[in-house]
Symmetry: C2
Subunit: 299 residues, 2 copies
């Protein structure tokens, strides 16, 4: 499907992508690069990459597909760094959890001027992950059954026509994503960022706040956490995720997350007020709406 | 371990207890009663009970162990209804999610006067459950590995001595709970109610508010919920639980739940303010504390 693939960033996501591509024979060769040589060593050890690149620009120049799989904060810089090296026809994409900032970087004239003619950047975000980080936890089925968002260059607006290179790049990535067992979903960065604020960044913030509250109450009344059952365990599972990663994601998607936080806070405040007033009807309606919405979901 | 057991209330919890007792041969006979005859029919069909009682007072009079497994709201009334029928030596217990109200009912002189001499009520709460309700979803392993709270009569205070009957009843229930694969934990109703507010009732409220918020945002921006991945699914899993049951639990444990809600709201507000100020250090600390607390838990 691709000749040579460069995966720039060999953490959980990058290494899982390498394993997923290799286990399905979707590339002739998978090359890995990471600023931390322990990450590439672990990825090589896991069989997630065939070869370690020491010079990412040189590796990008020989790749047909360049996947930026670093932490979200460093993606715009990495994109600008590698863009001048890629050759015509190369597709660049990323796996970042927020799309606004990197798509904005990709729209800047300075970037477009540096990108080789015929090369294209398509934003990407597979809606997959797990709390455990690093190539050692890589999983070739991490993306199976998940939604994989693709943001075409430039953001499609009614008056714009996607370039032929851009259209082809999106089609090739849709085929790759489908071959990896995921469902491609093409949308603007703005739409993506509002949606993930609601279904990913808000739940992360809420699960962490819940864990912190329960821990505080456990300090006041020892033994509280001993009574936690499966409901608590599931609701707080993602609270074990990497703090620095979530710090960066929240800051990067700050505006959209603040909007969803406000929505959540008023929903919870209305429930608290109903409880203060012992209003059985409003309390039941609150749980009814949640049950109906949950049951209306695909998963 | 017991001769005849009466399970008064044949929903998920009562029927699961019947299955758990019968599969381990812990009683000579398990009799089931429910105000809804479809519930007892389903429990009989599942093999959770040996026999259906049509008159709960008569069945209680012949039982060595009476387990009140009805919805939390009806427990005090059911306790008062059956107490005069039980014979000396019979142990009564319940499976309710809140212990303050039923233990208060069991401490009232009017109740003590009606209870047969030598009979004892011990409050109980197995920290187990699932969203699906009804005997049809009963599971003999529902209690395996969970904590099962027992509240002795009367609430143990330093100046009080538990009666010999009370002490023996607690010991026999601890043995039963252990034989069911659960871990007995003896505590006061007050301690229990504060703890479950933090690790059960607050998570339920938060998961439901999160589901409601995401559904509202999905209405404003269609397609939001299509991007939900495993993190969202786990964090909102319990939002599918029975609304009327949670309405009653929240009202019954209103004071303790309001306290934990206040704690949670201020935790989340501090996070939102840090995000508004783009304060990376406070945001990271928020996620760090949650990760450390989560990793410090047994499960």
């Amino acid at each position: 499907m691709f000749g040579r693939v460069l995966i720039a960033g060999c953490g959980l996501m990058g290494a899982s992508l390498g394993l997923a591509i290799k286990s399905r024979n979707l590339a002739g060769q998978v090359v890995g690069w990471d600023s931390d040589h322990r990450a590439t060593a672990a990825a090589l050890e896991r069989g997630a990459i065939d070869q370690v690149a020491t010079n990412p620009e040189a590796a990008a120049a020989e790749a047909d597909l360049v996947v930026l799989a670093a932490y979200v904060k460093s993606l715009p810089e990495l994109l600008l760094r590698l863009a001048p090296s890629v050759r015509a026809g190369t597709i660049m994409t990323d796996l970042g959890s927020v799309k606004g900032s990197i798509m904005a970087a990709a729209r800047e004239p300075a970037f477009i001027a540096r990108l080789s003619p015929g090369a294209v950047f398509v934003g990407g975000h597979p809606m997959a992950g797990k709390a455990a980080q690093g190539a050692v936890h890589a999983d070739p089925e991490l993306f199976t059954g998940t939604v994989w968002v693709l943001c075409p260059p430039p953001a499609p607006r009614p008056e714009e026509v996607l370039s032929e290179d851009g259209r082809l790049a999106v089609e090739r990535l849709k085929a790759l994503v489908g071959a990896l067992g995921a469902r491609p979903a093409v949308m603007t960065a703005e739409h993506h960022d509002r949606a993930v604020a609601a279904v990913s960044h808000l739940p992360q913030s809420v699960a962490s706040a819940l864990m912190n509250s329960a821990a505080s109450l456990d300090q006041q009344t020892p033994g509280v956490l001993d009574l936690a059952a499966s409901g608590f365990r599931d609701t707080t599972r993602i609270a074990a995720s990497t703090p620095s990663m979530w710090r960066d994601i929240c800051l990067d998607n700050r505006e959209a997350l603040l909007g969803t936080l406000e929505q959540f806070e008023s929903e919870l405040a209305a429930f608290r007020q109903a409880l203060e007033a012992a209003d059985a009807a409003i309390i039941e309606d609150f749980f009814e709406r949640a049950k109906a919405a949950k049951e209306g979901m695909r998963n």
